[in-house]
């Protein structure tokens, strides 16, 4: 099976020269990284250490095992190892913090993570919509929209510049203090979602904008020359191509968003990180943080792998000569 490794991937044979002309890590035009020598994504062509077939597989297996074994050995042989294992990796505490015990005053992290998931899902939808509006305003050319363009620019500058944590504090403590009807009487999770949406929309609007700029002007000309109005051309010709071009960076931002939901804990919402904190301060054992970390990993890793696959597929399509 391994002897036809070299031959059965005609797509890769053709892509190699191009890959070599692009330095690892350099952008291939649309703004995300080309997997290079390190961190080669999934099934992409390996620039270093590839090509040896069975022998290469054996070597990489052995070196992986050795490195891991070395790290574990250092961890186990460290003078404070027993203490660290007890404080951070105690199975008993991990299980207790996972299932929670209201009578002893701490919450289940397993249930609390559900709040992170809900905040993430709500924020994601809102961000996709708000960021698109901001990007379209910033890309508009009509003189009538000039004041809106200035506002959008200020918005992006502001929320990209202010730390997310401060935005969460400002919304979570500021809005209730205003004592407005309805808006001042929401749960902390709602303010958290609002803060995440405000902050991330600034970033994501720039991702959209990069996508809009990546669509060749000739596509606009083709659409307009057929008599499509500006709006129709944007909706059916430009936007679908723009979004397709930026799906990997969009997903990247959402991986980041998934774990930033933990920051909402500072408002007192019982999400995973806060539940872990409460467990640790109740029992003086930090294994709960390990549980929270594992749960976040379980959430983010599938999305990360999915993103890699999309990037990979996209690169192959691009190098097959589609985008001109």
């Amino acid at each position: 099976m391994s002897d036809e490794q070299g031959g059965h991937q005609p797509g890769f044979a053709g892509t190699d020269p191009l890959m070599q002309s692009v330095p690892p890590g350099q952008s291939l035009g649309t703004g995300w990284q080309v997997p290079g020598a390190f961190g080669t994504a999934g099934r992409g062509p390996k620039l270093l250490g590839g090509g040896g077939g069975r022998r290469a597989t054996a070597i990489s297996t052995i070196s992986t095992v050795l490195v891991l074994a070395g790290l574990v050995a250092i961890f186990l042989l460290a003078p404070g190892s027993a203490q660290v294992r007890h404080t951070f990796f105690n199975p008993q505490d991990m299980w207790q913090s996972f299932i929670g015990n209201p009578r002893k005053g701490y919450y289940s992290i397993g249930i609390a993570i559900w709040l992170n998931i809900r905040m993430f899902l709500a924020a994601e939808v809102l961000i996709l919509a708000l960021a698109l509006v901001i990007a379209l305003i910033r890309q508009s050319i009509s003189p009538v929209l000039f004041p809106l363009r200035v506002l959008a620019m200020i918005y992006v500058d502001f929320f990209r510049g202010v730390p997310l944590l401060l935005v969460i504090y400002a919304i979570g403590f500021g809005i209730p203090a205003l004592r407005l009807p309805f808006v001042s009487y929401q749960s902390m999770a709602v303010y958290g979602v609002a803060a995440l949406t405000l902050s991330y929309s600034a970033y994501v609007s720039e991702v959209y904008r990069a996508g809009l700029n990546s669509v060749p002007r000739s596509q606009v000309a083709a659409g307009r020359s057929l008599g499509l109005s500006q709006g129709t051309a944007m909706r059916y010709v430009i936007l679908p191509q723009a979004v397709r071009n930026v799906i990997p960076p969009l997903l990247n931002d959402f991986i980041s968003l998934q774990k930033d939901t933990a920051l909402v804990g500072v408002l007192g919402a019982i999400e995973a990180n806060n539940a872990a904190q409460i467990y640790a301060s109740t029992t003086f054992n930090y294994s709960s943080f390990t549980v929270a970390a594992i749960l976040f990993l379980i959430l983010t890793i599938p999305l990360a792998r999915f993103t890699d696959r999309l990037i990979d597929r996209d690169r192959r399509r691009r190098l097959a000569g589609v985008g001109r």
């Binding site: 000309a221 083709a222 020359s225 129709t232 191509q241 000569g321 985008g323």
Partner: protein, 261 residues
């Protein structure tokens, strides 16, 4: 040149498919078109020849209103396209343009490429638009490609789809901008055949081209452009065998030396 009498040109425009009067176009300080005047009769095929940068493409893009003009006037089918308050989208729906680089929509199938504008701009019901599109695709030998995406087609097929896409709007005039220049030599013929068929069907066309043999075959008139001006215009037999202007002669000699005629 004496100042044209507006009423007279208005009158003359009625009979023309395209009438261009003293068209100027500048990109910044760079004047690309320096006073082009041209009349295209209905069913006439005119080829624009000239070196790259002579203004052929810009002229076609101006007629389609893809480029705002600096001065001058353009009439299409007796109506002034450059007038105040003219909806450029309505003008463009009557004028098909095909580009050198095809510019198909890569995220749509061939069929959707062809039906998008009829459905979204002319508001033709989708089934009717698809029916019409299939008939056109069939006529140009592309019916078995209707569900393919553009990247699965050869350059020649893509360019034929681009022509069909423009035809689906039932334009009165077609502008072809060096439509074979990006093609491998063996794919040029299939596209030229499509254009020949359009010409024999009576389509009014303005064709910018480097294919001199083709221009000689198909054109009723050939215009030689240099530095944003029409230097010479004549029926092809006359212009190619007995050009009256020195610059035309020099251009044609270079073409012959390059082995392209």
């Amino acid at each position: 040149m004496s100042a044209p009498d507006p009423a007279a040109s208005e009158f003359a425009a009625v009979g023309s498919a395209i009438r261009i009067e003293d068209l100027h176009k500048s990109f910044g300080a760079n004047e690309v078109l320096k006073g082009i005047s041209l009349d295209v009769a209905p069913h006439e095929v005119i080829c624009l020849i000239g070196a790259s940068g002579s203004g052929k493409s810009t002229l076609l893009r101006c007629i389609n209103l893809l480029e705002p003009i600096s001065s001058g006037r353009i009439w299409l089918l007796g109506q002034e396209a450059t007038g105040e308050g003219v909806d450029p989208n309505r003008v463009r729906r009557q004028v098909g343009i095909v580009f050198q680089s095809f510019n198909l929509f890569p995220h749509m199938t061939v069929l959707r490429n062809v039906t998008l504008a009829p459905v979204k701009a002319l508001h033709i019901p989708k089934p009717a638009a698809e029916q019409a599109a299939r008939e056109l695709l069939d006529r140009f030998g592309l019916i078995d490609k209707q569900d393919e995406y553009p990247d699965r087609l050869s350059g020649g097929q893509q360019q034929r789809v681009a022509i069909v896409r423009a035809l689906a709007m039932q334009p009165q005039v077609m502008l072809l901008d060096e439509v074979t220049s990006a093609l491998d030599p063996e794919l040029v013929a299939e596209v030229l055949d499509v254009i020949r068929e359009l010409a024999s069907g009576g389509m009014t066309m303005l064709i910018a081209t480097h294919e001199m043999g083709f221009a000689r075959d198909i054109a009723n008139r050939v215009c030689f452009l240099e530095e944003g001006r029409i230097i010479e215009e004549a029926p092809p037999a006359e212009l190619f065998s007995n050009p009256s202007d020195d610059r035309t002669r020099r251009f044609l000699r270079r073409i012959v030396e390059a082995g392209r005629m």
